[in-house]
């Protein structure tokens, strides 16, 4: 078990560093194993340094910066062990428009690198426009959910009607 964990750690760390710099457009980050010599007992620490800033504790990062750091880690784990399905529930909520753009670029890259099918729940028109297709959920009858197929123009209407 120890070798496998160390090997997984190295692959995930490699992906994490690259993904962080892509999402932030610069800066650097890395993962370290702390609190114990034995990888099976150790904790996973994240060191993140957004472009132009000093390395600081994670909790001082802003809401948007924390989201991008967490996404880099999730996708790093994902790339080292791809899963058949990935669902992201409103992860773009704290992001500004420039970061939503970078996030969608990353999603595009992920669909080229893996066979994974992605479901992205979102309220941002920006993100909707970057999807291959849209699935609408409505409650025409109050309290009862139904699925409707939506094209992009329809989505603008769903947005307006929301």
């Amino acid at each position: 078990g120890r070798e496998r964990l160390l090997a997984a750690f190295d692959t995930v760390n490699g992906h994490f560093k690259r993904l962080f710099t892509t999402l932030f457009g610069g800066g650097e980050a890395e993962l370290t194993l702390t609190e114990s010599e034995d990888p099976l007992e150790a904790g996973l620490e994240i060191l993140a340094k957004p472009p132009g800033k000093k390395l600081s504790t994670l909790s001082l990062l802003s809401g948007g910066e924390q989201t991008l750091t967490a996404l880099s880690l999730i996708f790093a784990i994902f790339l080292s062990n791809p899963s058949p399905i990935c669902v992201l529930d409103e992860v773009d909520a704290p992001l500004d428009d420039a970061n939503i753009e970078r996030f969608c670029n990353l999603m595009d890259e992920m669909t080229k690198l893996t066979e994974t099918r992605f479901l992205m729940i979102t309220h941002h028109a920006f993100t909707m426009a970057r999807m291959d297709r849209l699935l609408g959920v409505t409650m025409q009858e109050r309290g009862v959910s139904q699925l409707v197929s939506v094209d992009l123009a329809g989505a603008e209407r769903v947005l307006a009607a929301e």
């Binding site: 999730i74 058949p84 999807m131 959910s145």
Partner: protein, 161 residues
């Protein structure tokens, strides 16, 4: 899926390759869809289904409809490439279903045969997914990875190993 939370009527979701956006007003049932998937994969914590007991996933009624007494979710997996674990590899498609009845608990089936929750959880773990997969990110959960303590984060790494 049928009778699961706000999806009282039988509903089918086809998950296509690439990026599919899920859109709709607040409270229409988008997060319930992700929960239906995780529940059928063997999620056993009612709190992570945002309820107080597991019966909270059964349709509780609305203005115009009465409450249901059971809920069921089935996942269809395309197995034409025969990549499933050997025990279930004999057919083109694999059906995994979970059904719950009020105050009677859940029953799991794979291709019609009744199995334990553990069997379903192991089936999905072999396919690098499952109710606790880091690739299924619940609403508001993204910040928890950052706020978690280093020891708790190691569990995420183990999923990848």
């Amino acid at each position: 899926m049928s009778g699961f939370k706000s999806f009282v009527d039988p509903t089918e979701v086809h998950v296509e390759p690439g990026l599919t956006g899920i859109v709709g007003p607040n409270g229409c049932g988008k997060s319930n869809l992700l929960e239906a998937l995780r529940w059928a994969m063997g999620e056993n914590s009612a709190k992570s289904m945002r309820g107080t007991g597991m019966d909270d996933v059964i349709f509780a009624g609305s203005g115009g409809r009465s409450a249901r007494s059971m809920a069921e979710v089935t996942i269809f997996i395309d197995n034409k490439e025969r990549s499933a674990p050997s025990a279930y590899n004999e057919s083109d498609s694999i059906e995994i279903s979970r059904r719950i009845e009020r105050e009677a608990g859940s029953v799991y089936r794979i291709n019609g045969r009744e199995v334990r929750a553990r069997d379903v959880q192991l089936f999905f773990a072999d396919a690098s997914t499952g109710a606790h997969s880091p690739a299924l990110v619940r609403q508001g959960q993204i910040g928890q990875i950052i706020a978690a303590k280093p020891l708790q984060r190691r569990a995420i790494l183990e999923e990848a190993a």
